[in-house]
Symmetry: C2
Subunit: 343 residues, 2 copies
């Protein structure tokens, strides 16, 4: 196959990176950072654990929105700063969300944040409480003021992930309709907005089922990466066991102009809990991707993922190897390859 | 109290009507049509039962979108025609929904339709399947062509009810976030749209709880009626028993310009299953309001409600008596009276 390229990502020469170890037992094109985890227990006196967090390049380094589980057990969003994307300084104060007039407007709780730049604005998206689990959003340009946006959906919903650019003039947002508990089902949907206020033209993207590692539910993970083969999506898939859920990372390629249409979907997981910090922790057996960094020049991709609801792990791949692995192990499920209707 | 008037409803001198019987044992300002039910079992060879249906004035009589349970057990939407709003001719063919190009676009199933006129267009809103229970919509101007609109929400959702006019330039739609089964919870939310395509600015209107007849869940019923005291909303409230749910009808008054704000909410039900056709049927103990007719001149209101998932019942009230009963028995729950925030 011809070499796959990342589009519209620019150069990121200081991307965190290690080459693939020669002695891996697996064929999956994703490998872990040898010094994992990069964040974890008790980073500040106020935070018990950091996991499920998102990173973007910022100034001469990186900035992150972190899921910090407070010592009262309530999750919130904190900022992290890093020169190399690996060693992090965590702010002790919560992200100070405000309304449009600058008045404090703090969510009751906020978890699993994503952080996506579209044009000149950074959007923070999290799961919060709106008379039930639902999606909260805010925007910033300077990481000093954080202005809340309208909630895009009514409950119950989790795992909202924004595309890094408009498509045919509108914003696009993945989400995963849920229930009020530890939802035992879940498909990925896509919604469209002209203005980040009103949302519609909802489409079903792909469902759970098929292979057992994604048999119970799936949810979008990192913001999609634009490539010469389509949008590269890292997502999570969940298996059910007699002792609870197991979260793995999968990959799919979506049509560049109509991303509700799945072109390829990897039947095998790309990363599954194996390491001590993934199989053991507050919630054992969780690998939960939330963000990537990518270098358009080399095709390198760094993946940030939550591990066992306790740590942040870092993994690596290249766009060429991961796209070709997904394509060569692709099994589409019923309806994946259709532009989705309205029924 | 000063007399309450209906606003913007026009004259409807041929509204179905009976005066309140003198011998009613109850104080509730709603009474039943003496010849109930008006629709029910086996109206056509294809339909086993008709219930949960909506009516509007049309030409020199009335037209209805009917929930017809087919003899295969799958619900669908049919048209009904009536001169007096009481005696109905039911069409044997399903409502022929199409896409914008006129191609057939039939839902897999459709139930609990509402029918609301806004400006010069009639909107049909139902619950259908979009990878889970969710809201379907179509529009018509002539009741011959029925053009599907985009689904307003991702699953799971039921009981969507449109306001009969725009408020501050936007359409307003009630709905009730749900789960994938016989949902054991449920609050009424309000959403806003500039164009009936994109929806946002979602607000929580009111929740279940408090009085036991509405302790499990609530959902909007008929399109709100504009009055001099605010929007008059008939809704359903559900109680749980050892042998299943019991559905009653309640009433609330909402702020005319900011209808997520509840001004008055009647602590007592307005109608509860008592008659044989309400307490017995396919689903015993259901009173489920879906539509009203109103005469602006006299203040008369005719309420169409589903009875026991088997029949359509008709009940009557006057705007003055029902609004004053709601006001004098009003108990607001926590947060009902706030303009709702975004948390």
């Amino acid at each position: 196959m011809s070499e796959v390229k990342i589009l519209n990502a620019g150069s990121l020469p200081n991307i965190p990176w290690q080459d693939r170890p020669a002695d891996l037992k697996t064929e999956t094109p994703v490998w872990r950072y040898s010094e994992n985890p990069v964040l974890g227990r008790n980073p500040t006196p106020e935070i018990a654990r950091i996991f499920n967090s998102a990173v973007v390049p910022w100034e001469d380094g990186y900035i992150a929105v972190l899921r910090g589980e407070q010592v009262n057990g309530v999750p919130y969003v904190y900022l992290g700063h890093s020169k190399d994307g690996i060693h992090w300084d965590v702010e002790r104060e919560k992200v100070p969300f405000t309304d449009e007039d600058g008045n404090p407007m703090m969510p009751h709780y906020a978890y699993d944040p994503r952080l996506v730049k579209v044009e000149d604005t950074y959007y923070i998206i999290w799961c919060g409480d709106f008379h039930g689990a639902s999606i909260g959003m805010a925007k910033t340009k300077d990481f000093k003021t954080f202005t809340r946006l309208e909630n895009p959906f009514i409950p119950f919903n989790r795992n909202a992930v924004l595309f890094p650019r408009k498509i045919n003039g509108t914003f696009r947002l993945f989400s995963r309709p849920s229930d009020s508990g530890h939802t035992p089902f879940g498909d990925i949907f896509l919604s469209e907005s002209p203005d980040m206020v009103f949302w519609g033209k909802h489409r079903h993207v792909m469902g759970s089922g098929g292979e057992w590692w994604q048999g119970v539910k799936i949810g979008a993970g990192a913001a999609p990466i634009e490539t010469t083969e389509g949008w590269l999506l890292f997502y999570h898939g969940v298996s059910s066991t007699c002792n609870g859920f197991v979260y793995s990372m999968g990959g799919a390629i979506l049509d560049i102009n109509e991303p509700s249409k799945v072109l390829y979907r990897c039947a095998n997981y790309l990363l599954t809990p194996e390491e001590p910090y993934e199989v053991s922790g507050f919630v054992p057996n969780v690998v939960f991707p939330c963000a990537t960094l990518q270098d358009g020049d080399t095709g390198r991709i760094a993946i940030y993922y939550g591990a066992a609801d306790t740590h942040v792990g870092l993994a690596f791949t290249t766009v060429d190897s991961v796209v070709n692995y997904i394509k060569s192990h692709s099994v589409l499920h019923y309806g994946d390859d259709e532009a989705k209707h309205n029924y």
